[in-house]
């Protein structure tokens, strides 16, 4: 079998498409960030904290509360705004990079506020969701023939 120019072009095209697929995986991957305002070890929970991700401001999270943010892609701008004991407002801005394989991560806000310059791994960690997503209980699989009545 002769290997001509068109063969290489085809291989290149296939590789290009696969790369596009990988790229789509990176930019389209959805992650859930749990924003946790509970005490971490000795660090007390914050009274009130507002988290802004990529410029979208969330609702204030009071102490011992947990909120969640859903983002797509890995790199995000994080801004944490809180009020300290002397009623002064502070904002911590960080770039975060969520590992590709994670579906859900937890962000310990009090730890981040206490150690604003600590590495990301210390306050952004993998979270195993125990509660199953409330999927409908359709154990019985229907492969019925009434599909002809469906909409189109």
């Amino acid at each position: 079998m002769k290997i001509g120019r068109s063969f290489y072009i085809r291989i290149a095209a296939i590789i290009l498409v696969i790369l596009l697929g990988v790229l789509m995986f990176f930019i389209g991957k959805q992650h859930t960030i749990l924003l946790d305002n509970n005490k971490v070890g000795d660090i007390r929970a914050l009274d009130e904290v507002t988290v802004t991700i990529d410029g979208v401001e969330g609702l204030p999270i009071y102490s011992r509360m947990r909120d969640q943010a859903i983002v797509t892609g890995q790199g995000h701008k994080l801004a944490v705004t809180y009020v300290d004991s002397s009623w002064e407002e502070h904002t911590i801005e960080r770039e975060i990079k969520i590992p590709l394989s994670e579906n859900m991560v937890i962000l310990y806000l009090p730890y981040l506020v206490e150690n604003p310059d600590s590495p990301q791994e210390e306050w952004l960690q993998h979270f195993e969701s125990q509660a199953i997503v409330s999927a409908p209980a359709d154990d019985e699989v229907v492969t019925s023939d009434d599909a002809m009545l469906m909409d189109f």
Partner: protein, 366 residues
């Protein structure tokens, strides 16, 4: 002399009516039905636009095999299955939005190519009865699809999301939620007209596909396909690889049907794992035929006229049934009956015409 001419004219008008019987019938149904349904114009417009967006791609995918003389490709369900498999994977990986659609399309492509090649090869062994064979292939592959999705996924093929896998540990659930990509293409470029939202981005994709088809007709391969569609023996003598060309036409149709299915499901927002694909072929073919296409001739124009007419009927039928007889179910049965009836009528008209033409050619030869 002039009388003869008149006769000829009359016949051609009559023939024009017969050859366009299906669209004419449908226009009548719609004209009578719309006032009876009581729907507002903007509601119907909104629905038709949304359906035009989601179905055009699917119906357009039928054009290429018609060009190659292989009739209406009931095997487009194979492409739909491939598209659905792509969607199952992207939902499992938690990829969302437009990237998810692109990724699903990329995953579906090799599956579609494989299935299309298989389908085309089988059809080459069933020349002269491609339609009924492709129809059975659809059923057959549905069995294989069920085997893969219901037994292999989650056991042999890694699918981990508990929202997808049945509690028993393998097999995909009845419904896969595509909420994260719902209308992500339709609403990419928001635009409203008369209170109806227009899926601009989807239409752009459809337009691109139309251009591809127009361009494709002029390529060497497209010309070959038309030659094969006209007469296989003549094409063979002209040095065209008939079998290969036919297989290619089915592969292309299957791949595009897969993309069409992804576009269709992003509009719907849920995937009925075991049902979504099963009737897609039938409805798409019915829509194409309503637009005035036949087994051996189908154009882009037929696609759009067909979808508009067919879907207007589809939207109004249940309410018309309820308003007339007090039973919405009746309208639903009616639209199913019409869908099947249209295909039957179009197939019968086509067969009668082919036979008449064959007889005429025979008479002329004598």
């Amino acid at each position: 002399m002039s009388g003869k001419l008149d006769m000829k004219n009359k016949i051609s008008v009559k023939e024009l009516a017969i050859s366009n019987l299906v669209p004419i019938l449908f226009i009548c149904i719609c004209i009578i039905g719309i006032p009876l349904s009581g729907y507002s114009g903007s509601y119907i417009l909104n629905e038709v636009l949304s359906r035009l967006g989601r179905n055009s791609f699917l119906v357009l995918s039928l054009l290429i095999p018609v060009m190659a003389g292989m009739g209406l490709n009931f095997g487009m369900t194979l492409g739909a299955m491939a598209g659905q498999i792509g969607l199952i994977f992207v939902s499992d990986w938690n990829v969302v939005g437009i990237p998810a659609m692109v990724l699903a399309a990329i995953i579906s492509t090799p599956i579609s190519i494989l299935l299309g090649w298989l389908c085309g090869t089988i059809l080459n062994n069933a020349k002269g009865r491609e339609m009924v064979t492709s129809y059975i292939i659809g059923f057959f592959m549905n069995g294989v699809y069920q085997l893969v999705v219901l037994y292999f996924m989650g056991s042999i093929i890694p699918i981990t999301s508990s929202a997808l896998v049945l509690p028993r540990g393998y097999g995909i659930r009845n419904t896969v939620n595509l909420e994260t990509m719902r209308k992500s293409l339709d609403n990419l470029i928001p635009f409203n007209i008369f209170g109806a939202s227009v899926p601009v981005a989807t239409f752009i994709l459809v337009a691109v596909f139309c251009l591809i088809i127009v361009w494709f007709r002029r390529t060497k391969l497209g010309q070959d396909m038309r030659a094969v569609g006209q007469d296989m023996e003549v094409a063979r003598q002209a040095g065209i690889k008939v079998e290969k060309t036919r297989v290619l036409s089915i592969i292309l149709s299957t791949v595009f049907a897969g993309y069409g299915m992804i576009i269709y499901l992003q509009n719907i927002g849920t995937l009925n794992t075991y049902n979504s694909h099963s009737q897609i072929g039938m409805f798409s073919i019915a829509a194409l035929l309503v637009g005035g296409a036949s087994v051996d001739k189908a154009s882009i124009k037929n696609v759009f006229i067909g979808i508009i007419l067919f879907h207007t009927m589809f939207i109004i039928a249940p309410t018309v049934g309820r308003n007339l007889i007090g039973e919405a179910q009746l309208g639903e049965y009616f639209r199913v009956f019409v869908s099947y009836g249209v295909i039957t009528l179009a197939l019968v008209l086509y067969e009668i015409r082919t036979r008449r033409e064959a007889r005429k050619a025979l008479e002329e030869a004598e």
